[in-house]
Symmetry: C2
Subunit: 142 residues, 2 copies
Amino acid sequence: MAFTFQRQVIYEAVLDSRQHPTPENIYEQVRGRIPSISLGTVYKNVKTFLDTGLLKEVSLHHGSLRLEANMTPHHHVVCSGCKAIFDLEESDVAPVELKSRLPKGFAIARCSVEIIGLCASCRGIGASNKKISTHHSSGARK
Amino acid sequence: MAFTFQRQVIYEAVLDSRQHPTPENIYEQVRGRIPSISLGTVYKNVKTFLDTGLLKEVSLHHGSLRLEANMTPHHHVVCSGCKAIFDLEESDVAPVELKSRLPKGFAIARCSVEIIGLCASCRGIGASNKKISTHHSSGARK
DNA sequence: GTAAGTGCAAAAGCTTTGCGGTGAA
DNA sequence: TTCACCGCAAAGCTTTTGCACTTAC
């Protein structure tokens, strides 16, 4: 991967932002330094950064709305491959213990644990290899 | 809120699905029972359910991609009002303790805690009330 | 010269909105 | 009659893709 000027500025824009910016945010900020930059270039390079592991996305679920009807507090096990979500009851995880102060004035509503990894199918074990396409229904983008 | 036939079928579709369905998933399933249903109706009713608290969304961040450059393991404090995200160092939270088995074959990569609530600005304290619009940059949808 | 990167514009998802019609109180 | 809701279609965002042009090896 070539470290072009645009890439450098885009990467620095993410670093400088304390606010977990969106591509649009980055675009706005980068335009201050490179007025000719295009939003498409920001997206392309963000994708490159994600692919190479230089950046991460805050949530695995930003593609499409995912719903739940289980209104009792619970946690999630998420497969980063197929985006499948398995529920864990609240009692399956010991209460989270906070050891520092939160931002001033922040009022906690709830606390949710996300265990991220690869499900059996995405690791290629269990369910025979023929069944590549349909082992889970929803979620993954290109 | 009237409990129309469409609403009933849509709600049941979410209940039946163990997979945290997307609106599109719901649409496909509901069409089996109501062939004339429209995707727009599914979206409208899902929104109604979300507004009334009958359903929840899995993630607060599904609207637009949010990035992070902080590659060290850490946790998040998220404001459900303005979607602002504050980082917590990994050491600020005691290690999560799992008390049950995960789905068979699931390989854990990492574990992230999300503390959800309202930030000072969204609670209307601190920063004077005049400053309603711009206290945080990114994220919220209509 | 080749390969990769950029900018632009079009296209492709996902979601919301507006509107006419329908059905229930 | 009124009001909420439905279905349909258009519009609005976000993101990806294709292509011609440039730039760096």
